[in-house]
């Protein structure tokens, strides 16, 4: 395979993947935060009902 500009191509692909993976990680983090909050509110409701 042609080696010209290989480094830049690598950076390009790396950048694309980093952006997408970064987004996936942010989704995952947000999801765990939401679930924790959901559990907390459910707990609060149970406490109030008892």
């Amino acid at each position: 395979m042609d080696d010209r500009n290989f480094a830049f191509m690598f950076y390009g692909f790396l950048a694309a993947w980093v952006i997408v993976l970064g987004y996936v990680i942010s989704i995952a983090m947000r999801e765990s935060r939401l679930r924790k909050e959901l559990d907390r509110v459910r707990q609060m409701i149970e406490n109030r009902q008892n």
Partner: protein
């Protein structure tokens, strides 16, 4: 059910991307002038297509929300727009890197890159608006209107910046030289469009599930405070 769908989509998407990467790196011959960097087009263009289709879908969903007032449509619109912004960012960054290689400058006021930048700003504004509005119904209503305005503007921006650029000639990023791509080189592009669309769909489904959790959370919170 939704879980299984997400897993299925992601597996198919990953398989497709792996096969595409193999084709792009191993099978394709080299382009005469640009060296290895040209292969980045196979991600640059599909990202743009996915983003734009996403923005169109978001507008349709926003209109459907305004008609039916069902918050599910709002969730879809928000998820699709967010994923669209991510793919637009991929398009901008890969385009910038490509420009750096070909013309030695990080940015060029080429028609397509400029239009995509404006799109990105418009929809980043949409995401900011959603963050600035707390009340769910108000948030859905305002962002729906913004989504419709933004897409209409997107169409106008693309046409007008094309005219602007043809009047002031500048280095033009010839993405598709009017069908000048050799036949064997074009098909991975379209396969990659499919692959990216699948990845986007996965992300959208994940994001929508999150919006569902968020809605449930809002409802429970209201109930908890009422007790």
């Amino acid at each position: 059910m939704r879980e299984k769908l997400i897993y299925a989509f992601s597996i198919v998407a990953m398989a497709l991307i792996a096969w595409d990467l193999y084709r792009i790196f191993m099978v394709l011959p080299d382009e005469a002038n640009q060296g290895a960097i040209y292969r980045i087009i196979y991600f640059h263009v599909p990202a743009a297509i996915t983003a734009m289709v996403g923005f169109f879908v978001a507008m349709v969903m926003s209109a459907l929300y305004l008609i039916t007032r069902n918050l599910k449509f709002d969730s879809v619109a928000a998820a699709v727009t967010e994923v669209g912004v991510v793919f637009a960012a991929v398009n901008l960054v890969t385009g910038s890197i490509w420009a750096r290689v070909i013309w030695g400058i990080w940015w060029t006021w080429d028609a397509r890159l400029t239009s995509m930048l404006i799109c990105w700003l418009l929809y980043a504004g949409y995401l900011m608006l959603r963050r600035a509005t707390d009340e769910p119904t108000q948030r859905a209503r305002l962002s729906a209107v913004l989504s419709i305005f933004s897409f209409v503007d997107v169409i106008i921006v693309w046409k007008s910046i094309e005219w602007w650029r043809t009047q002031h000639p500048a280095p033009v990023l010839s993405i598709r030289n009017g069908g000048g791509m050799a036949p064997g080189m074009e098909s991975p592009l379209w396969w990659n469009v499919l692959a990216m669309a699948l990845v986007a769909t996965c992300l959208i489904l994940l994001r929508m599930r999150q919006e569902g959790i968020r809605r449930e959370l809002d409802a429970l919170r209201r109930y908890a405070h009422a007790l």
